[in-house]
């Protein structure tokens, strides 16, 4: 059944691919520019269909104004002031400062670029396709009559968000800057933290229509070259018209598209991304989104937070354990409650059983339905709360609390203990943000299993989950490393976070047999100053 649907989808996708292939060839403007300015402008205008934001400015320049030129750019994507100062003014006025007898042929773009234009970032373009590409990314195009070449001058400027604290990963201690939508800024933030010539930034352009810049960032001497090759291949085979967010890339390159567990992690925080790059991972920065992808991903990364490493190890370890417990509570809480109250009442302490029974006396639904309803209501509230504007969101919170908590209990629809179970589940589910998606799905699956077969069903579900988890791989790395397969050096950073000075090696599973696996010299444990014994002798 499922396979049949998939086949249908694949077939129609193939059909569409063939169609889009045809249209794509139509738009290959692989023709050279003509030496005639008028004709060039006509071609550009006809291709852009006289879009209102495309500005064409024609002018004459040179000593006796005998050269004809034109500037083509897109409004609001360029700095007009700079264009005026650095392109128009030199061409029209500063040229007059040159002696008249200096023989310069201003139909040659190279001569203009070297002698007149005072902008560093400029490129010669000869093909129409290149010209359009640069024009649409916000570059100013200088066309000169009589030249087969055009000059693309980079004077981009548009409104952008400043560097702000990311909303999804707030910290108490640690850097507060976050990536933003401009990939260049994001790359700069990474570069600013790693001042190492080994830091490689590879640029790719994905998306037939959006032509989004995608960067692969890694440390050459640390990252496994096979990993980088694999990333290049996987990203390279993406043929899609638009990349609007890094999620698009993620879904095309992940290892297990049918798994509920993510095999590509993401972050908005430069410090986190840099830490992972230093462990031998690669970051994929996509223009237009602050979310940077990081591969390969281990399951344990979901439970680690950047703050774990900034705080001292004791509290960090406790928080780590609390996060594990929260994940267990958030996935198993309602299932456990249903299994106990419906199937294994003998396991509940007598006093508790009596008070649960007292609370449930007037409840007309079976426990599984009760739990399902409550979880559903909670998920609706959460979804509504995220989408709504902030002032309304608060109202939803109050209504939700009253509806969920008090009214339904007083009306006898829900038992008070169920409210406690579901609300603690809800709170616990936010402690592990990276696994919220999988946690939500697992919660419903386990609840269903508990309703069908009680504790037995929950255990079967857990076993299936464990089997699935241990079969997952992310870019060749076992998902459950360092627990399965076991690695003593890696386990230092799993259930508890050992002091930083004990973590001498980078995770071996990510860097493989790379020589540069040591990240600090041994014996760095701090201790008070001691006179050398040899000295005292």
């Amino acid at each position: 059944m499922f396979g049949y649907i998939l086949k249908k989808i694949r077939y129609s996708a193939l059909k569409r691919k063939n169609m889009s292939h045809d249209t794509a060839t139509d738009k290959n403007y692989n023709e050279p520019l003509l030496p005639d300015l008028e004709k060039n402008l006509d071609v550009i205008k006809s291709i852009l269909r006289d879009s209102s934001d495309v500005t064409v400015h024609e002018f004459n320049f040179g000593h006796d104004r005998r050269y004809k030129g034109a500037l083509v750019f897109i409004d609001n994507m360029v700095d007009k002031e700079e264009i005026h100062k650095n392109i128009l003014k030199p061409l029209m006025y500063d040229v007059l400062l040159l002696k008249k007898d200096v023989d310069m042929d201003f139909t040659k773009i190279d001569i203009i670029r070297k002698n007149l234009i005072s902008v560093m970032d400029s490129q010669k373009v000869t093909l129409l396709a290149d010209l359009l590409d640069s024009l649409l990314t916000g570059t100013t195009i200088l066309l000169v009559d009589g030249s087969k070449e055009a000059l693309a001058v980079n004077l981009r400027k548009w409104e952008a968000r400043s560097i702000e604290e990311p909303g999804t990963e707030a910290v108490v201690r640690g850097p507060r800057e976050g990536f933003n939508e401009n990939a260049n800024v994001s790359i700069a933030l990474i570069r600013r933290k790693i001042k190492d010539p080994d830091l490689c930034i590879e640029k790719l352009k994905i998306g037939m229509r959006t032509k989004t810049d995608v960067y692969i960032v890694y440390l050459k001497s640390v990252a496994n070259p096979k990993l980088i090759e694999e990333i290049r291949n996987r990203i390279g085979r993406i043929k899609i018209d638009a990349i609007l967010e890094s999620g698009y890339i993620e879904q095309f390159i992940e290892d297990a598209p049918y798994s509920i567990f993510p095999t590509v992690s993401n972050s908005e925080k430069p410090d986190k991304v840099v830490a992972k790059i230093l462990e031998g991972r690669a970051a994929i920065v996509v223009d237009g989104t602050p979310f940077v992808l990081i591969v390969p991903m281990l399951f344990i990364e979901s439970f680690q937070s950047g703050e774990d490493y900034y705080a001292r190890p004791f509290l960090a370890s406790i928080m780590r354990i609390i996060r594990f417990l929260s994940f267990i509570i958030s996935t198993l809480g309602p299932a456990f409650y249903v299994a106990l109250t419906v199937f294994h009442q003998e396991l509940i302490p007598t006093q508790l059983l009596i008070s649960i029974a007292a609370g449930r006396e007037r409840v007309p639904f079976p426990a599984i339905l009760e739990a399902g309803l409550m979880l559903f209501t909670f998920d609706v509230l959460r979804e509504a709360g995220v989408r709504l504007p902030k002032p309304v969101g608060q109202t939803i919170g109050i209504v939700g609390a009253l509806v969920l908590g008090q009214a339904s209990v007083e009306a006898g629809l829900i038992s008070p203990i169920m409210v406690i179970v579901v609300s603690s589940t809800a709170i616990a589910s936010f402690a592990v943000p990276a696994q919220t998606d999988s946690g939500t799905i697992l919660r419903y699956i386990y609840l269903g299993l508990a309703g069908i077969a009680g504790g037995f069903g929950v255990i079967m579900g857990l076993l299936a989950t464990l089997l699935h988890l241990s079969s997952l791989r992310s870019f060749g790395v076992p998902y459950l490393w360092p627990v399965v397969p076991f690695n003593l050096s890696g386990i230092k950073d799993v259930f508890i976070r050992m002091p930083v000075w004990t973590m001498q090696k980078r995770p071996s599973v990510i860097i493989w047999d790379n020589i540069d696996s040591i990240r600090q010299s041994p014996g760095l444990m701090p201790s008070p100053y001691k006179e050398d014994k040899d000295d005292s002798k």
Binding site: H344, Q345, A453, G455, F456
Partner: protein
Amino acid sequence: MKKKMNILIKKSVLCFLMLFMLSGCLGGREINDLEIVIGMGVDKDENTENILVTAQIVKVGEIEKTSGSSGGGPENKAFWNVSHTGNSIFEAVRQITHKTGNRLFVSHNQAVIFGKDIALEDVQKYIDFFLRAHEMRPTALILIAENRASDVMDAKPETEILPAMNIAKLVKAYGFTSHFYKVNVKDFASCIMSATSAPIAPIVGISKDNGSKDIYVSGMAVFKNAKMVGELNQLETRGLLWVLGEVKSGVILVPSPNRQGNAVLEILKTRSKVTPEINNGKIVMNIKIKMESSLSEQTTTENLATIPAFEEIQKALEEIIRQEIMTAFDKSRELNADIFGFGEILHKKYNNVWKTIKDDWDEVYPTIKLNIEVEARIQKTDLLKKPATSNKKGK
């Protein structure tokens, strides 16, 4: 290749689903449909020879009210004693559903109370159900009613809401005095199954002082061949517990050296070791008791916190403990019931000898000699170093 994989996946999914059918716990029951039984009483029906089973069921709705508003009406009982007669316990239990409408849920049964008539007849016949039923817990306490079990279950306690819970709490608190002992169904049954050991069980009665009905534990019933043959009083029970090493705490009064008052000692820690010995065919049980105590009260002005006083008290203490053990042993000899489990101890060490004597254990048991060694120590005097009297009198 891909098709093969698909078939494999389908097969494994099918296997996984089939596992659910194998499970025996598909029958879920909502908590609302349960009648939670917290105590069961077994009596002989007064008129016929049938059994009268009484089940104490929690009325969960009333629990909420009584715990919510402290001044709940006295007529609103949070429990419901429902009983029915039958030829067997299981039959009667199923007959009770005629009155409840729901199946009884006995996993949380706290106490099984046998009426005295049942205890005098033969407990073995009636305990089978409590061991065999899969919902039953072997940790449920076993108790003998002084009279009828149903009366004991009716007495409404003052602080607890549920009588059966109250009884279980009382019995479990034996450690404060060590005057009685808690016995659960499993212990009781294993004693019955032994060839020589005699099971014991606490007796609960109703004291009717000042008009109020209070439940209390009056002593221990001694069984022989699953029939009740006699009772142990509180001190005899402690004598027994000394040997079993089950004295948790308790109070011992020792006359002070100048005989003007008592030193009241709290038992802190005890240890016992029983080693059997056969000398020329005579069985001697070497019992070594070590105990630590604290001086918790004194009813004399004399300062007892001195080394000579301590030594004297310790000596008296040892003698008292020895006496307690001897009275218990004398009683057991009188009843000819091996409550100490000496038979099993002998079995473990002298297997060959035991084989020859096990058939006439009843004759052998009264001839056993005890060799009791007690080492009693006073560890501390709690907060006072000397009694709160004026110095003049003491010196």
